[in-house]
Symmetry: C2
Subunit: 125 residues, 2 copies
DNA sequence: TTTATTATTGCAACATTGTTGCAATAAGAG
DNA sequence: CTCTTATTGCAACAATGTTGCAATAATAAA
């Protein structure tokens, strides 16, 4: 299935690049001022994930955020970094810090979803 | 506000003790076979959290799980441990392992919500 | 340029999860 | 036993995410 370049897809990709942070569907819908349907936004974001352009994380609020992949290889994706959500400015960031966890004997890990919420440098000041 | 002991409250508390793992509202509703209303289950669970008996965590599926507090002081609660969700048997556990993360300069942490999903010892075998 | 193919979109409908308001019920004190 | 009010059940709602389907439009082919 070959991808097509569309206004919605471009706008959302640009937003993700410009934001340099993770965005949720509702954040994108707001910035797009309702020009694009909710469903389309979800579909575009999911497509980015399928294509290895972005990754999806479930926040501690229980909703999805999407962020462009930075340090992933084209083939090999690893999203085992911490995510930070600022309780004041709402910004969500992928942190450099990798998650290190040793599981009990016999356990195996398939995926990791780690969040820290608090106040970012701007909002702490 | 003084608490009262009710069948629903007791049943749910016993389930949490017996399970020795974290449960979600729908798991509890199933085991209770619809004898108790959804809303009541949520309210009982939230009450446990208010009373410092349990803690609530948001899973990587985006829904809430509730687990009895084990290593919390009566006054001082710390829920900075990892949680594990088995993709096969659905069991959710509080792990002993504490979350260790160093934030960028100027950032401050208020809360932590860390999940590993994969296969538990039983299901890996 | 024009036409044909089909990826993408918008809309309605639905599923799941969690909360709130309010009247009815029942736990526990006196 | 009676009274107070914490707790429950039910209806209604909000938020988030998905699916089906017909209409639209990006791209390739003619
Ligand atoms: Zn990636
Ligand atoms: Zn990330
Ligand atoms: Zn606790
Ligand atoms: Zn826990």
């Amino acid at each position: 299935m070959k991808r097509r370049s569309t206004p919605a897809q471009q706008a959302i990709l640009n937003m993700l690049k410009a934001a340099d942070s993770a965005l949720s569907q509702d954040m994108i819908e707001q910035q797009l001022k309702g020009e694009t349907d909710r469903v389309t936004i979800y579909r575009v974001l999911n497509r980015f994930c399928e294509d290895g352009l972005a990754h999806r994380i479930t926040s501690d609020e229980g909703k999805f955020y999407f962020a462009l992949c930075k340090n992933c290889q084209q083939q090999h994706h690893t999203h085992d970094h911490f995510h930070f959500r600022c309780l004041s400015c709402q910004k969500v960031e992928c942190l450099e810090e990798k998650v290190k966890v040793s599981l009990p004997l016999g356990y195996s890990a398939a995926n990791v979803n780690c969040w820290v919420s608090g106040y970012c440098a701007n909002c702490s000041a």
